[in-house]
């Protein structure tokens, strides 16, 4: 974005802050990695990384902790973006979860725990990464409002609210003992609207599932689920129905619910987002488990 002797816009300041954070991490840690979950926040984070280190390729790999239960469109986008950026793509699949056939249909909360929480820990240990960029934002959920930009994890990946360091000005303390690691959130101060607006302004590619299209769906437990492939187990009496739907957030299917929509392009999606009256994470089953569930998951090592 250009600036000519004038006040920077809020997006320019957010961009500058995120880039500053990424450069600090690269300068002060030994083995950084960027967690790439293929969603819109990851798309923005990757875009910012490419800007931060241009004309060099970002000096860290992308890590996708795969649950094997992502939508087909997501895998396609992942491979495309890795190729375009020239960055190394590491895909990690928890062998234990794979062996046990953990899936969202039979295992509920265990699915997230095994594939994502455990898978992430295993991947970070395997490659000995000491800093991992994540796309979490403070506006997503109440307990995240207090999350630091640099979030320290013990050698066994636990998050201890009392051990977090004060963050003053834009000075980040990246020092840590052997075995400890940092989760870094360069998008901490972005809101959902900022993300969308930046995608619009910078023309950042995102997974087509964010745009409305006719897709086969079933309605279950108050969520609208998309039948993405034949692994989707239909319950008795369920018949997939073509609906014009899109996703406000992308996770594993069928944990991620769709919304009925006709917003087929970015501007319409933003309009719908602005006029909508339910918050983003409602489409994810994970938050409904219990009050303050995100905080509990974080203590256990979920991003």
């Amino acid at each position: 974005m250009m600036a000519r002797g004038r006040s920077l816009t809020h997006l320019e300041r957010l961009e500058a802050e995120s880039i500053h954070i990424m450069r600090e991490v690269v300068a002060e840690t030994e083995r950084p990695v960027m967690l790439y979950s293929i969603g819109k926040d990851s798309a923005v984070m990757l875009h910012l990384a490419r800007k931060a280190f241009h004309p060099a390729i970002p000096p860290f790999p992308l890590l996708h902790v795969d649950t094997t239960w992502k939508f087909k469109d997501m895998y396609a986008m992942r491979d495309r973006m890795a190729a375009e950026s020239g960055m190394q793509l590491l895909v990690y699949i928890n062998p234990e979860a794979k062996a046990k056939g953990i899936n969202p249909f039979d295992h509920g909360g265990l699915h997230t725990d095994m594939w994502k929480t455990e898978g992430l820990k295993q991947a970070l240990d395997k490659y000995r990464f000491d800093a991992a960029f994540g796309g979490a934002r403070r506006d997503e959920e109440k307990s995240r409002a207090k999350e630091r930009v640099f979030s320290f994890r013990s050698a066994n990946h636990r998050w201890d609210p009392k051990q977090q360091r004060p963050e003053l000005w834009n000075i980040y303390n990246a020092r840590k003992a052997k075995g400890e690691s940092i989760r870094v959130f360069p998008l901490s101060n972005w809101t959902e609207l900022d993300i969308w607006q930046y995608i619009h302004l910078e023309n950042i590619p995102i997974v087509p599932l964010y745009f409305a299209a006719k897709r086969p769906t079933v309605e279950r437990d108050g969520l609208l689920l998309m039948v993405d492939d034949d692994r989707f187990r239909l319950r008795e009496g369920e018949v997939p129905v073509e609906r014009s739907i899109r996703f406000r957030t992308l996770g594993c299917y069928p944990l991620t619910g769709a919304v009925e929509s006709t917003a087929a392009n970015l501007v319409d999606v933003i309009r719908e987002m602005l006029l909508t009256t339910t918050s983003e994470r409602q489409g994810r089953a994970i938050d409904h488990d219990q009050a303050a569930s995100m905080e509990k998951k974080k203590q256990e090592g979920y991003f």
Binding site: G5, H10, R13, I19, R23, K142, R165, I270
Partner: protein, 638 residues
């Protein structure tokens, strides 16, 4: 549920979004960003005010509102009414206690600006959190309960706001509904605050009578207070000038974070422009070296920029090959910042462990990280009365002034001129925790007044005359471990071998050089520092120095190690289990310590940090003193 007229602007916004989303986006692309903090005491209604701002700017979604209604009934303090405070109280533990215990950041946005609010707790012990929140804020909202007026906490918050350099202050007199919207109540508080504010250097502030709970003068002017003719809180937040604009008018400075070298033909210097602006062709200087160069390009993926301004993260290239690396500062050539290694600084101590004067810590400022020591405090400020108090150290939440010395010169500006080049953090070298924040006030120019005297006879010449290699045999271990006994034997053996030695014994030194020191942590650190300096002078003189001190802390042993030439410091851990040392109790000290007559006794009520990788470890349960002494002498002579 309380009812408030939805601000008219929101209807307009909704209509614009529905009808012309492109026009809406264009408008919002040009929003600016204001960061502010709210400070107040417990029950001043801070969380309620923030909840209200979120609610009135339509940042609360239906599902959050539904959750809020059910939470209000469960945890709320407002009866059947919506408790806005619950919107912003995050962590589960806090929710149960009904208090916020950390800094939380909230976001909302209007047609003109995006806002980031740091919600900082108001109770006594959390100066740390408020300083953290204030460090990134352009503006502070100081909340006062209209029923209570200016309290001790109000003074503390105002002092901190001023200390952190926030120039825009709003005095929000809250809970006006509970004093019958009385103008006199408001005027009295404003008058009382004005005289106090002037005394601490806050020249100007904007007083606004509000009710966060009822919504008066938040986004719409209150019909309940026709006597008030000023702006609403939101109007003020939307129009107050931003610090980033003022920063652009200052001379150009960019701390270098990272050097971009994708190939041999490209070398770019990446950083966030702290102040000023820069164009290709501008003459610059790299600090601290002072070397000059010229800006060639401002590189971005979307093409080169014609100018970069304060607040942007950029990648600059030079027209020639000038050394420049992380930690350096690129500055406009004819107005460079200063370089120094000793400063007066204001320190905010943030750790449970008190500061130890003389202990080396890491100091990080912008992209510079250096070893630094903080001298004994000049004074601490009582943040309630603003009196200066004499103290020996800084404890958690203490604010005071002290001299900071860095291991080598750093590029800086006074904090009042530049937050980026004057604000720093202090990091504990062992735990890696951020233990303090500080603001550089001015340099003390030590380097210019006390010169190092170059001597004609060098240390190696003296060592050669003695026909030996100088060394420090540093014995460490619990009281009664056997340090002095073994050290004595070692010296005798070396003497017989015609070596020139000197034994510095802990007890003996405390009778002379260090007789002014006690046994607090701070005094122990100073004790070891002085012994280290003496040992260093003696090695300069060519001696083999033997020291026998408990020296319980790793940091100080490292401090002494760093004073010596590489390889000169030989750490000898006389490793005796506590129960063995205590059963010997040659001096009867353990008995006294157990009986409570002796405080800060190592191993009993003061910690002993065993060396992690000593050059020599002596297990006294396995070796006689004679054997140990032979073993050490062998190590030295071989």
């Amino acid at each position: 549920m309380t009812t408030t007229a939805t601000p008219e602007t929101s209807f307009k916004t909704q209509a614009l979004i529905a009808e012309d989303i492109n026009a809406y986006l264009a408008q919002h692309q040009h929003k600016t960003l204001l960061r502010f903090i709210t400070c107040g005491s417990v029950d001043d209604g801070k969380s309620t005010l923030i909840g209200r701002l979120l609610y009135d700017s339509k940042m609360i979604f239906d599902d959050q509102l539904a959750a809020l209604e059910s939470d209000s009934k469960k945890f709320g303090t407002q009866g059947q009414n919506i408790d806005f405070a619950l919107l912003v109280d995050g962590l589960a533990a806090e929710r149960e206690q009904g208090i916020t215990i950390d800094v939380a950041y909230r976001f909302f946005s209007t047609e003109k600006r995006k806002f980031i609010v740091a919600d900082t707790p108001g109770h006594e012990q959390y100066t740390r959190n408020m300083v953290t929140g204030a460090s990134t804020a352009d503006l502070a909202v100081i909340l006062i309960d209209a029923r209570k007026g200016v309290l001790t906490q109000t003074r503390r918050h105002s002092y901190l706001v001023h200390l952190l350099g926030i120039r825009n202050v709003v005095l929000a007199v809250n809970k006006m509904d509970l004093v019958g919207y009385d103008q006199k109540a408001f005027d009295d508080i404003v008058a009382a605050y004005r005289s106090f504010a002037a005394s601490i250097g806050i020249a100007d502030f904007v007083p606004i009578p509000i009710s966060g709970f009822k919504g008066d003068n938040i986004t719409t002017r209150s019909a309940n207070m026709p006597w008030y003719t000023g702006v609403t809180l939101m109007d003020h937040l939307e129009t107050v000038p931003l610090d980033v604009a003022a920063d652009q008018a200052k001379p150009f400075r960019m701390p270098v974070q990272w050097v971009c070298r994708p190939n041999l033909d490209f070398r770019g210097f990446c950083g966030l422009v702290a102040t000023g602006s820069i164009k290709p062709g501008d003459a610059v200087r790299v600090l601290p070296s002072g070397k000059k160069s010229t800006i060639a390009r401002i590189v971005t993926p979307g093409g080169d920029l014609q100018q970069a301004i304060a607040g942007q993260s950029v990648n600059l290239t030079f027209t020639d090959e000038v050394d420049c690396s992380r930690g350096d500062v690129i500055a406009i050539a004819d107005e460079p910042p200063q370089v120094a290694d000793q400063f007066e600084a204001t320190i905010v101590w943030m750790a449970d462990e008190p500061m130890l004067a003389g202990r080396p810590y890491w100091l990080k400022m912008a992209a510079q990280t250096v070893s630094a020591t903080i001298a004994a405090p000049k004074y601490q400020v009582n943040v309630n009365t603003l009196d200066h108090i004499a103290v020996k150290t800084f404890e958690l939440n203490a604010i005071g002034v002290a001299t900071v010395s860095t291991s080598h010169p750093i590029v800086f500006e006074p904090y009042s001129e530049s937050r980026a080049l004057g604000g720093f953090i202090i990091i504990d070298k062992i735990t890696n925790a951020t233990v303090a924040a500080g603001m550089l006030n001015f340099s003390l120019r030590r380097a210019q007044n006390v010169h190092w005297q170059a001597l004609d006879i060098s240390r190696s010449a003296r060592a050669a005359l003695n026909n030996q290699i100088p060394a420090v045999l540093w014995f460490t271990g619990l009281s009664g471990a056997g340090k002095s006994t073994i050290a004595n034997l070692v010296e005798k053996k070396l003497y017989r071998m015609n070596r020139h030695t000197f034994l510095l014994d802990g007890d003996n030194i405390r009778h002379g050089l260090n007789k002014d020191l006690g046994f607090t942590e701070a005094d122990r650190v100073e004790n070891i520092r002085r012994v280290g300096e003496v040992a260093r002078l003696m090695t300069d003189a060519g001696l083999i120095v033997i020291t026998a001190f408990i020296s319980p802390f790793r940091a100080e042993r490292k401090l002494v190690r760093d004073m010596m030439m590489p390889g000169e410091f030989i750490e000898i851990h006389i490793d005796t289990p506590l129960n063995v040392a205590e059963s010997r109790d040659v001096k009867g000290l353990y008995k006294k310590a157990r009986g409570g007559q002796l405080k800060n006794f190592t191993g009993i009520d003061s910690p002993y940090e065993a060396p992690e990788a000593p050059e020599i470890r002596i297990d006294t349960t396995d070796m006689s003193p004679e054997q140990a002494a032979d073993f050490i002498v062998d190590h030295l002579i071989r």
